[in-house]
């Protein structure tokens, strides 16, 4: 192990460093100046994001516990960009009086979860995987319970923490059985040793439910809406975007490598779960009035689509999932960004409050519309491409009926996305939310997500890069 090896771990190391730096600065700042942490952290995180893009070499450290290659680095970069936008969008909220004392904690917790996800992505064995998973979950629970005076926030925190404890318990049980039946916790060995005996299938299912919990697949999704609603808006967007994105990345890696031999079995599972997830997510989203809850169910439905790419099983599927997650991050951040901006300034988060928004806040409304269209998969915004490629990958494996069900579900989802559009553009309102101007950071965050929504689709280069790194199921 030498310096260059350490450089390959730059994401995790720099983030750890960053978290420590934030803590140290916080300790040395007078209470009045706590808000200075925000710009410093933003700049540092921006630098971190930039450094993340430096070329990376494929390497294996710690005897196989930590793996990295261009694809994994890219996944981490995608998450970094998402986090950067979230940080930008949360500045206004952080500056509020009530959060003054807890700014650095917010950053540290956020960064530590990100470290967890990075480790999870790079994990080469189940131990690191599990550690990363917990590191990515436990601080988020604390973040969800971030707002003291809000009972909903505490409720969100405990629901997230206990549900995840249960799910990781089941997941661990699965891992223990995997370990028992293959003799190793290292991915490479497990991959070689895995047979499709009933016990191993069961072990896989236990493992899978834990993952399904993370990306909120039906029926393991029930925590999602409540937590999303109760958590502070920026934490919600972090949960829905970064957490879920990371989980999707890991799921596809694990499915395509460790459990590749199980594909004939898990394809059935995925088929079933995918249909359930899309349908149930949509059905619940249909009648939501709270924007956060609404987006929660919409993101559940989106998770169902992700499975289509995994079902594809090939390079196309892998590319499509990663690309979709990227697109999804931008689209959802666009939507959450608007909700966040409005919620932070006015405290309103009900769909009815959005009536007539276009008259007073046209730019926010437009961004919201674009984001929703992107989520619904409407051209020319990026979501269309994301969905199309996912469907293509499922079709490439012959799942035409599933594609049909999925597109029908996309149509249903369009219905409720249009409800929001309708509220903003069509519904009349005597007293729409007053015009307000967000601060620079929020605006930057919104513009970044808007740009992403627009550019990602047309700029095929991005897709091609992802494709060049993807590998599909290893046979």
């Amino acid at each position: 192990m030498n310096f260059s090896d350490i450089l390959t771990m730059r994401h995790e190391l720099m983030l750890t460093l960053l978290a420590l730096v934030v803590l140290i600065i916080d300790l040395n700042l007078h209470n009045r100046n706590k808000h200075l942490i925000i710009p410093v952290t933003l700049v540092l995180f921006f630098l971190h994001t930039v450094v993340g893009f430096l070329p990376a070499e494929k390497s294996i450290l710690f005897g196989g516990m930590y793996r990295t290659n261009s694809l994994l680095v890219m996944m981490k970069n995608i998450l970094n960009i998402g986090v950067l936008i979230i940080l930008l969008q949360s500045v206004t909220w952080l500056k509020k009086e009530e959060n003054r004392e807890k700014i650095s904690e917010y950053f540290v917790l956020l960064f530590s979860t990100l470290i967890g996800m990075d480790f999870m992505i790079s994990s080469g064995d189940f131990l690191m995987f599990y550690l990363g998973l917990e590191l990515a979950t436990i601080p988020v629970a604390a973040l969800a319970a971030y707002t003291h005076h809000n009972t909903k926030s505490a409720e969100a925190g405990i629901k997230l923490l206990l549900s995840s404890a249960l799910s990781s318990g089941i997941l661990l049980f699965g891992i223990s059985l995997i370990y028992g039946s293959t003799g190793s916790i290292y991915y490479d060995t497990v991959m070689d040793m895995y047979q499709n005996s009933p016990m191993q299938v069961m072990a896989f299912i236990f493992f899978f439910t834990g993952m399904a919990f993370k990306i909120s697949l039906v029926p393991f999704h029930l925590w999602t809406a409540d937590v999303y609603e109760g958590a502070p808006i920026n934490v919600t967007s972090y949960l829905s975007v970064i957490s879920k994105g990371a989980a999707a990345f890991i799921l596809i890696i694990v499915m395509f490598t460790v459990f590749n031999k199980l594909a004939p079995v898990y394809n059935h599972i995925l088929y079933l779960i995918s249909v359930l997830t899309m349908t149930i997510g949509n059905l619940f989203a249909l009648r939501q009035k709270n924007m956060k809850r609404f987006l929660a169910f919409s993101s559940i439905a989106q998770a169902g689509f992700i499975l289509l790419g995994i079902l594809g099983g090939n390079v196309l599927g892998m590319t499509s999932v990663i690309y979709f997650v990227l697109v999804y991050i931008f689209s959802n951040l666009g939507a959450f960004g608007v909700v966040s901006a409005i919620q932070t300034v006015t405290g309103k988060e009900s769909m009815d409050d959005y009536d007539g928004l276009y008259a007073t806040n046209p730019k926010l409304s437009l961004l919201m519309m674009l984001a929703l269209f992107s989520l619904a998969g409407i051209p020319p915004v990026a979501g269309f491409f994301g969905k199309f490629f996912l469907f293509a990958s499922a079709a490439s494996a012959g799942y035409y009926w599933l594609v049909f069900i999925a597109v029908l579900n996309a149509t249903v989802s369009l219905y409720y996305y249009l409800l929001v559009v309708k509220a903003m553009f069509i519904n009349k309102n005597e007293t729409p939310l007053a015009y307000f101007k967000s601060d620079l950071a929020t605006r930057t965050g919104l513009i970044l997500s808007g740009l992403g929504i627009f550019i990602l689709g047309f700029w095929s280069q991005i897709y091609e890069v992802i494709n060049s790194l993807s590998f599909g199921i290893i046979h």
Partner: protein, 105 residues
Amino acid sequence: MIQNIPLSYYLVISTLMFFIGIYGFLTRRNLITMLMSVELILNSVNINFVAFNRYLYPQQLQGHFFMLIVIAVAAAEAAVAIAIIINIYRNFKSIDVENVDEMKY
């Protein structure tokens, strides 16, 4: 000694413990007791790891260390959970899980 006791005995115990933990999680109304159920679940997993390691793959310490890490994680989890539970106690004046259902549908 392991020749005397088959591995499956350990597995039976751990599995029973695991599902007892789950039963507790599903039925205990008090948030702290739910947390305790989680500890039972984790403990059963630990038994699994240790037993597998000891019986099947004794030349490595994978299960051994896994168990250590799980204990650490369990501690961290418990710490945060208890913090939140105390917070809930402050907010709800109760830690009955039935009361924590402000958000639904």
